[in-house]
Each structure stands twice: as C-alpha cells, then as structure tokens.
Symmetry: C2
Amino acid sequence: MDNKGNQINVMQLCVSKVPFFNHLTTKEMRKIVDKSRHRNFKKGESIYRDGDQLEYLYIVHRGRVKIYQLFESGKEQLLRILEPGEFMGELALFAEKTLDSYAEAMKDTEICTIHRDDMQDLMREYPTIAVKILEQFSNRLDKTEKLVGQLSTKDVETRLAGYLLELADEKSSPGIVLPMSKKDLASYLGTTQETISRRLSSFQTDGWIEQKGHRNIKILDKDALFELLSE
Amino acid sequence: MDNKGNQINVMQLCVSKVPFFNHLTTKEMRKIVDKSRHRNFKKGESIYRDGDQLEYLYIVHRGRVKIYQLFESGKEQLLRILEPGEFMGELALFAEKTLDSYAEAMKDTEICTIHRDDMQDLMREYPTIAVKILEQFSNRLDKTEKLVGQLSTKDVETRLAGYLLELADEKSSPGIVLPMSKKDLASYLGTTQETISRRLSSFQTDGWIEQKGHRNIKILDKDALFELLSE
DNA sequence: CACAGAACTTGACGCTGGTCAATTTAATTT
DNA sequence: AAATTAAATTGACCAGCGTCAAGTTCTGTG
C-alpha cells in the first residue's frame, strides 16, 4: 500500500505551501498532515453549498475556486476567488455554522481539508497559527470593505477601471488575463455581463485598452483609466 | 494621587467588558490594564482619520462610534457602527498600515487603547486572545460579505426592509429606534437620504410601519416586509 | 480542423434611484 | 416656550444601467 508515500507527498504539496503553516518545523508539519485530508475536484464541481453544515477548513493547493452567494432572484454575487495557498470555511473554526455561500472549482482543483476539532487543537498547541490566520483575515476584511465602498459610491465604469488597474498592478505588465469570465466579473463588480461588455468596448474605442480573445486585455493608456478613479 | 484608584476603575470598566479579555483571571486582566490607556471623545469628535498611522487597538467602552470611508466625490460610505465591547484598529496588530477610513464618535464616548506592541505580547502570552479576536473577525467578515451581496443584487426597498427586520429581531419588540440618522442609514445601505425617506413613507402609506419622530419606527406588518426579501 | 455550445456583443427600451432645490418637521439650546 | 439649527420630506427631472432578445465570436473537444 502506498498510503505512506502518499502522505509525504501530500505534506509537501499542501501544508508547506500555506502561509499560516509554513513557519513550522518539518516535524510539526507532519503532525498537521496526519490530520488533513486531500481531495480533488473537477472543473465546475461544487465543493460546498448553501445549507451545508460547515465542519472543515479548506485549503486550496492547486487550481482555483470561486465563492459566491446565490439569491432567490437567481442572481449570483461573487465574493472572491481563491488561488493556491488561500483558504475558506474559516467560520467552521468557531461554531457549528450553516453555510450561506457556495464554493465551486473553476478548474481542476486540489484541496486539503482539516476538521474543525483538529484545527482547534492545532491552534491551542501552536498559537502562532491563529495569529497568521488573523493576518489573512484582516486583509480580506479590508478588501471586502473596499468593495462595499466601491459598490455604493462609484459607477460601473469606475469600478471596472479600478479592477483592471488592480490586476495590472499585481502582474506588473500591460497585458492582463482576466482570472474569470466576464459574467463572473460582472457579478463581482455588482453589475451585468452586458454592461461590462459595453464599458470595455468604449474603453477600447477610446484607445485605452485592447481586447484579444475573451479574457486577454492589454492596457494602452493607464493614466486615462486612472483619471476615472478620482473624478 | 488617585492614580491607583483610577486604574482599578478603568479595569472594571474597560477590559472586563470586552469579550476577548473577559475569560482571563483578575490578575491577568490587571496586567492588560497596565498596558491600556483610557481616552474620552466628545460627540462628533474624530478618533482617527484617513492617512493616520495605525498603532493602537481601540476598544469602545461607552458610547457609539461610526467607521466610514470618504471618497473624492465627497460621498461617505458607512462601514459599521461600534457599540460598547466592540473594537477597531485591528489591522494595527499586524503591520504598520496606513488607515483608509475614519472613526468618529456619534455621542460622548469612552475608549481604551492598547498599543500594537503590547497587543502582540499579550497574544503571545495568552493565545486564547487571538482566537477570541478571530471569532469576532469572522462574524464581521460574514456581515460585510452579506452587505456586498445585498448592495449589488437587491433594490433599495428590499435592503431597507431587510435592515428594519434585522433591527427588530435584535430588540425583539415591534418598536425600533434607529441607531443612526437617516443620512447615515442611507450611506450604510448605499443610497441617499432622499430615497430612504421616500421608501419609508411608502411603507407607512401601505400601513406596514409607523414613524414617530426622526428615529422611532413601529413595525405594524412584519410579514409584508418579509415578503419583499424573497421576491 | 471542424463543429457545437458557451461566452460575449450589440440594440432598443423603461424604470429605479440619484441630483438639485425648496419646504417642513423635529431636536437643541437658551 | 421661543429661537436656532439640524434633519428629514417632497417634487421635478433625467441618466445610468438592468432587462429582454437577437446576433456574433471564441474555444475546447472529438
């Protein structure tokens, strides 16, 4: 049985990659690996859904996951996208809460899960873990609060410009690749596919960007976009 | 000198009231009190502002504080309101971050401050503190994400109905008192004073609520409001 | 490489809700 | 209780953007 070999493999892949574990010693990490479980999801597959009982912390190791809410009206609100190393289900750590959001693999994705009780133990044993999680939390909260501000005080054009610039900053190159479909982007920015499409077209007409394919955008006039933000 | 007496007083008032300290022993609390400073703010006074260097954790002991963002356009986005026992400035705990929001006392307010370095020490010494903070954090994040969803998928009427019901739930009585001006409520719900006013008027015309004075509302038909949410 | 289905674009139209301005009402102060 | 100020209401107007519907362009799969 290659169970043993499998576990070592998982350790290298999963735990060591995650910011809030990677300061621990190898021995300590092994302890964590013993408590974690590795799972695979195919593109489009649901990882958890509204109404599920939340019992695990999920850590994305490979792939990409989107978290969204779904309303009675059928409208979707995309909350965030998880890249490798990020986690979700953190509410599970404190209470037996019922979920009110959905998590879906955007492409084939590998995930590590750790049960609530084990996480509690780990935090007690290695207090620094809690501090690390806290750090990530505060960044997320920060980002979410900014989104709230944008949603209610800026028009779609401005929000879109802001998003493009943010993306360009991260990659620090004029060519950017949208990490999601325009439909999802619309959901994230609190608008519709159609409006996103119209605004991008007008950006292009103005000579500020150039679109190639469905997800590739080259920024031609950063300053023009930037101007929008402070108007 | 009544410094000593003062400190004991402060301890009882401030630290013991806060959820993430109140599980500690009296002796441990005293240690924390030694590191905290007590401050008073008058109504309307600014506690911190955009651009300030963030160095302290602020714990509200008495009064009420509003946190908001301010945009170039002059628009305000109210993020949340702190009641006694809640805290702000938590980003200070991790990095030397510059603030991008404002905190203002909504009435005469007493606050305890603890310096970042001291907080770091405390968390190392009493790991449970970090876990408690984490708990509050995750609730806030949850609330903020819900707000995002509402802002971008529901119309003002629905958001307002949702807010009123939420408030009624907390107090579990038909008569509710707005914790803020309608102007601030508008800012929180991502709309304008005028629209809030219009919607409340129409609720009243429909016989669903009754307004008395500027901040008192009696809910007459809970079900009608509730219907709006799931349409 | 072709083809099917998904993703995106474009147009026409109407409604929600933002803006500006003028009153009215409530809250505070003296 | 009157006076002053702050908060809220109401009306008129119109722009942004959501909706529905019909095309067009990608893209990944066989």
